[in-house]
Amino acid sequence: MKELGVESFAASTDSRFVHKIWQAEELSKMVPGGVPFPMIADASGLIGQAYGVFEPAAGVDIRGRFIIDPDFNIRAMEVLTPEVGRSVNELIRQIKAFQHVRATGEVMPAGWTPGKPTLKPGPDLAGNVWKEWKPEMAF
């Protein structure tokens, strides 16, 4: 993430004390040095509420992930119920795509990965996307 210039943060309703012990007891055994980014303590659930992911029945923040651009606009969110983990590859793909858009103004069709064709939006492209892009290119 750092290579892409991204600041990462994790947040749960656990206190900072629990974060400290989880890092020491488990995360540092899974990954050398543990997780290298700040672990936010959202004990009241207020941050989760502001992001629409706090589940009051369980008192936890569910699995929401937000990409925020340098202008502080949310570009993407993905929210899952807790049983299924996220795709890191999809996160990286989305970040690269949004960074590319911001740098070039080109847009990324479905299934874009670095190296695949992009589209240059404009009035001439309307009705002519079929000339530039085929559905097979999404896979």
Binding site: M39, I40, I47, I68, P70
Partner: protein, 48 residues
Amino acid sequence: MTVARVGHQAPDFEANVYYNGGFQTMKLSDYKGKWIVLCFYPGDFTFV
């Protein structure tokens, strides 16, 4: 209460964090100007 919407400004907040072996506070807006990924998850010591 702002609720986060894609295409809109991210809700700012101040929080206690555990980072780099210590406790700190942070504001999300301190990181304006950078790309940010904010990941919520249900709990430490849980399975997934």
